[in-house]
């Protein structure tokens, strides 16, 4: 098993290199550079000589492959440089102060989606054909059809602008500030996760409920509680983990739309800013962070899966 983990980590390094390479070249393929955008914001155009000077100062005149090599040389020592836009802050500083916002959004979304999504799914499976089942289907259809950003804007419009239940001022980090500000972003961010969890939970539990070993469990004279929790749920969990894992990976990385609409200064928001500003180091840093987070989450999902299902083993037979 340790060997398996090492293999996966090695693979992860490979993925990081590949992603960073592709991103780097794509990034430079897009017209305009970091300074052009800054100038444009001040309604000026960067004169060529100034641009040349800036470029040589920052090493942007070197051949791309050399730039990439230099970047990676620093990156492996976890030095991701300074932002081109916010020139007095390092990438690490930016990401470490902004990522907690994304994390909090992701965390709240996860809790909300699990309660609503899995709750509806379990209800639908156990009380097949009841109002709970229909409600679950209705909610899922809604989540499927409604684009998250439209929903977010609608919520914002209704609850913040018209009803003034919450303000449009953005959020505070942590739980000591105005927690209510997190409600709308969490709900908007949950459309996708609720849909996935409701459908998979319902499907998984329905399948397991009808399986032969549940019938055996009942024939042993076990109570319904025991049958439900130990025999049904335990088995139903594995497919849910399979989809839940990647979903979680997406959540911890932050969401562009939601963060922008609700003015949450998370990684997603900063990434968008970085792209618009052609802030090369921020773009690279964020991409690498995301790739890392997603890979680790996938690995953890696989390990949890192996823990849950004894039939799955990553140890090859001798």
């Amino acid at each position: 098993m340790g060997r398996y983990i090492l293999m996966r980590l090695a693979g992860m390094v490979g993925v990081l290199f590949a992603v960073s390479l592709i991103t780097f070249f794509l990034m430079h393929a897009v017209p305009s550079g970091p300074f052009d955008m800054m100038a444009m914001q001040q309604n000026k155009i960067l004169p060529d000589e100034v641009k040349q000077m800036l470029y040589s100062q920052y090493g942007l005149d070197k051949p791309l492959i050399v730039q990439y090599a230099l970047y990676m040389k620093n990156a492996v020592r976890l030095d991701f440089g300074y932002s081109f836009y916010w020139t007095n802050r390092t990438i690490i500083q930016i990401l470490s102060s902004q990522w907690p916002y994304s994390l909090q959004l992701g965390f709240f979304t996860m809790i909300f989606s699990v309660i609503i999504g899995m709750g509806l799914g379990i209800g639908a499976a156990i009380k097949h054909g009841s109002w709970l089942d229909l409600l679950g289907t209705g909610v899922s259809l809604f989540c499927l059809a409604m684009p998250a950003f439209v929903f977010a804007l609608m919520l914002q419009l209704i609850f913040a602008v018209k009803l003034h239940w919450v303000s449009t001022a953005g959020v505070d980090l942590g739980i000591t500030g105005n927690i209510a500000q997190w409600i709308l972003p969490t709900i908007s961010n949950s459309l996708g996760p609720v849909l996935i969890l409701q459908r998979y939970t319902k499907g998984s539990i329905s399948d397991v409920m009808r399986s032969n070993y549940v019938r055996t469990a009942r024939s042993k004279g076990l109570s319904e509680m025991r049958v439900t929790f130990i025999h049904i749920f335990r088995n139903a969990l594995t497919p849910i983990v399979t989809v839940g894992g990647p979903m979680l990976a997406g959540l911890v990385a932050g969401s562009f739309f939601i963060e922008t609409i609700f003015r949450i200064p998370g990684v997603g928001n900063y990434f968008v800013a970085g792209v618009l500003n052609r802030d090369y180091s921020l773009i690279m840093g964020t991409t690498i962070l995301w790739t890392f987070l997603i890979s680790v989450t996938y690995l953890l999902t696989d390990l949890v899966y192996a823990m849950l299902d004894p039939r799955v083993s990553y140890v090859k037979e001798a």
Partner: protein, 332 residues
């Protein structure tokens, strides 16, 4: 030995489906005595499995038991299982009656180890401590022929072969020494040599523990090996019931006789096998008259009009047939 243990009286179970109501069990009656083996035979769709599941009250929506009594004589009391609530059934299943199923590959929980699954009924019904339950589980595994039982307690079902899993199922079923064991096609999914081992095991345990057994199968050979009494089912009815030797040598019901003639025997070499015209009836329609009448070569007018009840044609041997009751007892 001739004390009745289980009396099923006019049991009716139906399934309410979109296409119609399927009358899977249509008024089935039989008795199982203590320590005796009753074999229920029939082809697919005859209602034998549904009967067994009804006795254990494992029938779920859209299935419902709609009539009859299932009387279990437990010492001095008699309980009607058909009328018990699910809460009551918890104290009956696994303790007074247990069941083993057809497909050993899917009948055990894949994520729990074997020890846990065996010890569940021991801890719940017999209130054993962890240590006692573990020791007893090891003894059970040994008794059912699983080598190295201590080690295998920690293993998972997928690490066992089909025959081994069926043995584990048997161990679970007899853990609390039930008075009745229902075996639903326990050997159908197994190879012949493994099947023989399982049949032998069930017979031995039955003798040791004094358990009565209901064995359900479509294999007339298996029933001949195991059963003292045999009930033949067709289209949700019991059409013949009697001692094993009687049913085989002197079968009365035309369906049963045709069935006996249609099976190839190891050492008899007929030119052709007996076949039965047509197909079993659809269980959604409620028929008037004998359900076998459309396919019966011996039918008379009365057969299409009245459904014959089970009446005694010979000592201890009952048949549901108008023609047979008037006939003489002859060799099959």
């Amino acid at each position: 030995m001739n004390k009745p243990l289980l009396e099923v009286k006019n049991l009716k179970t139906e399934f309410r489906l979109a296409q119609g109501t399927v009358h899977a069990v249509n008024g089935v009656s039989f008795t199982v005595n203590e320590g005796e083996v009753l074999g229920i035979v029939g082809e697919s769709g005859c209602g034998k499995s549904v009967t067994a599941l009804s006795i254990m009250r494992l029938i779920e929506h859209p299935g419902y038991i709609v009539g009859g009594e299932i009387l279990l004589h437990d010492g001095d009391q008699t309980i009607d299982i058909a009328k018990k609530s699910m809460g009551d059934m918890i104290n009956i299943r696994g303790v007074k009656m247990s069941m083993i199923f057809q497909d050993p590959m899917t009948s055990l929980n894949p994520v729990l180890n074997i020890g846990y699954q065996i010890m569940e009924p021991l801890k719940l019904h017999r209130h054993m401590s962890d240590k006692d339950a573990t020791d007893y589980a090891v003894k059970l595994l040994e008794r059912v022929g699983i080598p190295e039982p201590k080690l295998r307690l920690k293993e998972y079902p997928h690490q066992f072969s089909g025959g081994m899993r069926q043995r584990v199922m048997i161990a679970i079923a007899v853990a609390c020494t039930p008075k009745l064991l229902i075996a639903d096609e326990p050997t159908t999914a197994l190879d012949v040599t493994i099947q023989a081992q399982i049949i032998d095991l069930i017979r031995e345990l039955k003798d040791e523990l004094g358990t009565a057994v209901i064995i359900i199968t479509h294999d007339l050979g298996v029933v001949a090996e195991m059963a003292d009494q045999v009930a033949v089912m067709y289209a949700g009815y019991v059409v013949e019931n009697g001692p094993s030797a009687e049913i085989y040598e002197y079968s009365q019901h035309p369906y049963n006789r045709a069935l006996m003639g249609s099976i190839p025997r190891l050492r008899k070499w007929p030119e052709r096998l007996t076949t039965i015209e047509g197909a079993p009836p659809s269980l959604t329609s409620v028929t008037v008259g004998c359900p076998f009448e459309p396919r019966c070569s011996l039918r008379v007018e009365r057969c299409a009009l009245e459904n014959p009840p089970l009446l005694e044609t010979y000592k201890g041997h009952t048949t549901a047939c108008w023609v047979a009751q008037e006939g003489v007892r002859e060799h099959a």
